[in-house]
């Protein structure tokens, strides 16, 4: 158990260098600097030490030492997260799993892959491709983000409606407890006996354990995929046609919506041939066997016309399909070109509430005098409003955060939630008290205690402690930024560019 006398930075480094190569134990400010934030760079903090172990035994030993001295541990993959979930703790160790990059095994027969946590999401599909298989969840950061981080955040992507989130595609994980004990959750089978701890670990943001190996399901690569693009004069019609597709019995592989700001920015950037005059644009991808795709594409085109689409275009080639997606996939950086900074939100709403939420968001946009562009995973109701701001204008980020908070509260008010796929981290910890009651938060804290009684795994993230949650409730919006400084003492606002 933990003792009261904490070792100094030097003493801890010495302990770690006893079993980890010296260059993989970092404590100088210059080399620590790149670790001060994750993909949400508005929140940063310098860690005490960064360690980059190379074996599971070394990770175990790091955890044992940190547990002995009650030193906070923040596990980190590629650092692409968008909720400051991997932001360091000033008195803690960043446990980077970046060196765990091996695809341990692809089993084409069982359609599974065993992976070290630092394997990049896209690298799984690349390794599986020679067997005609791929890994389903595809977060926008898939070039860089790691499977360990995907499990921690329960990452989604544009294909969730049909192929599920990370939690639906993970068979088992090998995890180290806070004490450094190795356990396996799940198995090579589909169901396991007892409490489903695997479900708890997915999306637990590094608060319950450190994942050292993951087994995922792979899917056969569809024979064919085509995308239909449709422009609409108004958002309501576009929203209704999404409902129309679902009601017709088709589950599209991807169903994405963009509003006029996003359309125009994406078109200028990607030259995909988007109708710039449209108020809303839908991209509907259908995949499956050649026959199925043909059948569904015809239905989707008809539906779009019947719901009043002003333009409908269907990809005829793979190159055209890639081009139509390019606009959507580059929407975030494209929006980055029309504004010095942007702040990406991540609420989920029941789809039927879309028009109301967008109208209300427009009202807020006028109130805060900040533009907002919308990119929407329309199939599953996950909304990504991008608030455009300039971090160089004093106070503008604080205003942006407040606007963002209002958007999340709006999502909860219409029956949705504060985060669909980016996680809570530090960023949305205040809004947890909007979505959950104190008793519910206490239950979450009790679950955390069951895994990590001392609370050294990624402290201050994901779930507010009761004391903190009472503070959040009692604080007026205008003071929120001050309260936040409790969490992030050396919080500096760097350039506010998030990507996702």
């Amino acid at each position: 158990m933990s003792t009261t006398s904490k070792p100094s930075q030097d003493e801890l480094c010495q302990l770690f260098r006893g079993f980890i190569a010296a260059q993989n134990v970092i404590s100088d400010a210059e080399t620590l600097k790149p670790y001060e934030c994750d993909g949400l760079s508005m929140y940063c903090e310098m860690p005490l030490i960064v360690v980059l172990p190379e074996t599971v035994a070394q990770v175990q030993e790091v955890l044992r030492i940190c547990h002995r001295y009650a030193v906070p541990v923040v596990a980190r993959g590629a650092g692409t997260g968008l909720c400051a979930g991997a932001m360091p703790n000033a008195e803690g160790v960043v446990l980077s799993l970046a060196k765990f990059k091996n695809v341990i095994e692809i089993n084409p027969q069982t359609r599974t892959a065993r992976l070290q946590p630092g394997v990049r999401n896209l690298a799984i599909s690349e390794a599986a491709a020679e067997y005609g298989l791929y890994y389903g969840p595809d977060p926008s950061s898939q070039i860089a983000c790691t499977i360990g981080g995907n499990v921690a955040e329960n990452s989604g992507g544009v294909h969730c409606l049909k192929y599920g989130l990370t939690v639906h595609n993970v068979l088992s994980v090998e995890m180290l407890t806070v004490e450094g004990e190795k356990v396996t959750l799940g198995s090579e089978g589909l169901d396991s006996c007892g409490l489903d701890l695997l479900a708890l670990i997915n999306g637990s943001e590094g608060l319950l354990g450190v994942i050292t190996e993951i087994q995922v399901k792979l899917l056969p690569i569809p024979e064919k995929a085509r995308v239909v693009m449709a422009g609409f004069d108004n958002v309501q019609q576009a929203g209704d046609s999404v409902g129309g597709i679902i009601a017709s019995g088709i589950i599209p592989a991807g169903l994405e919506m963009m509003d006029s700001y996003a359309i125009s920015a994406a078109e200028d950037f990607a030259k995909a041939g988007y109708p710039k005059e449209a108020k809303a644009l839908l991209l509907c991808e259908v995949d499956g066997t050649a026959e199925e795709v043909q059948e569904h594409i015809e239905q989707v085109e008809k539906l779009f016309h019947s719901f009043g689409a002003t333009s409908v275009r269907t990809s005829q080639t793979e190159a055209e399909r890639a081009l139509l997606w390019k606009g959507r996939k580059s929407a975030f950086p494209a929006v980055g070109r029309i504004s010095p900074d942007y702040y990406c939100m991540d609420g989920t709403i029941p789809r039927g509430q879309l028009a109301h939420v967008l109208t209300e968001m427009q009202r807020l946009s006028e109130h805060y005098q900040l533009r907002v562009a919308n990119v929407f995973h329309a199939g599953d109701g996950n909304l990504h409003p991008l608030i455009l701001f300039d971090a160089n204008i004093p106070g503008e980020f604080a205003k942006t955060e407040e606007f963002g908070g209002k958007i999340l509260e709006l999502c909860v008010a219409v029956g949705g939630c504060i985060t669909g796929e980016h996680g809570v981290g530090i960023e949305k910890i205040r809004q947890m008290s909007v979505q959950f009651t104190e008793l519910e938060l206490l239950q979450f804290n009790a679950i955390k205690d069951a895994f990590d009684p001392v609370g050294t795994l990624n402290p201050g993230k994901g779930v507010p402690t009761l004391r903190r949650c009472q503070e959040y409730r009692s604080i007026e919006p205008k003071n929120k930024d001050m309260e936040n400084s409790n969490n992030t003492n050396s919080n500096k606002h760097k350039e506010g560019v998030a990507h996702g």
């Binding site: 069982t110 005609g132 329960n154 969730c160 409606l161 599920g164 939690v167 639906h168 407890t177 004990e181 356990v183 198995s187 090579e188 089978g189 589909l190 169901d191 396991s192 006996c193 007892g194 409490l195 489903d196 701890l197 479900a199 319950l208 056969p220 569809p222 409902g243 679902i246 009601a247 019995g249 589950i251 499956g288 066997t289 199925e292 059948e295 989920t348 029941p350 789809r351 039927g352 599953d380 109701g381 949705g416 504060i418 985060t419 669909g420 796929e421 996680g423 809570v424 947890m432 979505q435 959950f436 009651t437 008793l439 239950q443 979450f444 009790a446 679950i447 069951a450 895994f451 779930v463």
Partner: protein, 354 residues
């Protein structure tokens, strides 16, 4: 069609005050599962009714005591279904019990389990607090996934009062092919079929015959049917087979012998058992009837990459679930305590130590 949650909450509080334990019962259709139940009967079957169903949102919310038949009838009106194909157990199964026992049918490897389709729950914990987790949207990563944690917990964490689920359209067409072959050949073949991008939706081997179901767009199903050859079952034969399999009503299940359920690597062989087993889920679930030593069965399951449980029959006072390693036992006990500090709910139903 009543909301009895306040009433249930009172019963939980009363049990807590009186230091009594409770045995949560919905339709009572799965009382044969798990270890022997103890405690006062807490009947939640009256707490029923669909609370919200939006077909275009693909989301349904119902009280835990709602019979599956009622839910499936409402879905069918909109050409939708519970894609995890749960057993209805003569119409007595409720939604709450289905989640608590994590019951899914033949389509499970392709369309997911009840655990995969749960979006949110309301439950009353051991302190009598009525709490809400998850929600009614497909994507939600706020807080720990307490909703999915209920799947297979057998009511040990609280009284589930309401469940929100993802529902899916019924496939436009469904056809079934059969081949005569031995178990080992079938295991290999099922895994080969599953690696092809075709509309496979179930694969089961029993007594020398492999049954494969194709579901999806009519054109895709018919094209695959031609390509894969095999003997096509008539619609009636096919419906009857999958119905009886999913409902656990095949003659295979009609036994007084202990019934073992293996959840393992889909391609693994268990040479001693396979030929006598019912092999479902494309190889990932195997049923075996017979008096066997539990530890021996566990070693076979572990060698096949998974676990085994004594699903029905046999000694229900001993452990019926696969043995849990000590570290995981400790964590599970602490989670149990975090929901139910006085150990009111379904004591010992899952494990003697819980």
């Amino acid at each position: 069609m009543a909301d009895l949650s306040a009433d249930i909450q009172q019963q939980v509080l009363a049990a807590r005050d009186a230091k009594q334990t409770l045995n949560i019962i919905g339709g009572g259709s799965k009382s044969f599962m798990g270890r022997e139940a103890v405690g006062d009967r807490l009947d939640v079957s009256g707490h029923r009714g669909i609370v919200n169903y939006q077909p275009v949102e693909l989301v349904l919310t119902a009280r835990a005591g709602t019979p599956l038949t009622e839910i499936e009838a409402a879905l069918a009106e909109n050409n939708q279904m519970l894609a995890f194909e749960p057993p209805r157990f003569s119409g007595e199964a409720t939604l709450g019990g289905t989640l608590a026992c994590n019951q899914s049918g033949p389509g499970r490897p392709w369309t997911g389990s009840v655990r995969d389709h749960v979006l949110g729950v309301r439950l009353i914990n051991g302190l009598g607090e009525h709490l809400k987790f998850g929600g009614q949207v497909m994507k939600n990563v706020a807080g720990y996934d307490v909703s999915r944690l209920q799947a297979g917990a057998m009511g040990s964490l609280g009284v589930i009062t309401e469940i929100s689920l993802k529902v899916l359209p019924k496939p436009a067409a469904s056809r079934t092919l059969a081949w005569d072959m031995g178990a080992q050949e079938a295991i290999t073949f099922m895994n080969q079929l599953a690696s092809r991008p075709k509309p496979l939706s179930a694969a089961c081997w029993l007594q020398g015959r492999l049954y494969v179901r194709l579901s999806g767009a009519l054109s895709a199903v018919e094209a695959t049917l031609k390509e894969w050859k095999g003997t096509e079952l008539t619609q009636d034969q096919a419906n009857q087979f999958w119905q009886q399999l999913g409902q656990q009503e095949l003659p295979f299940f009609d036994t007084d012998l202990p019934l073992w359920r293996f959840s393992i690597n889909s391609a693994a062989s268990i040479p001693a058992l396979d030929e006598y087993s019912l092999i479902d889920w494309g190889g990932a679930q195997r049923w075996f009837r017979g008096e066997q030593d539990k530890l021996h069965m566990e070693s076979l399951a572990a060698a096949a990459g998974g676990q085994v449980s004594l699903y029905s029959g046999g000694d229900r006072r001993s452990e019926v679930m696969h043995t849990t390693p000590a570290v995981l036992q400790a964590i599970q006990k602490r989670i149990k305590t975090s929901f139910d500090p006085d150990g009111i709910f379904n004591p010992g139903r899952l494990y003697h130590w819980m």
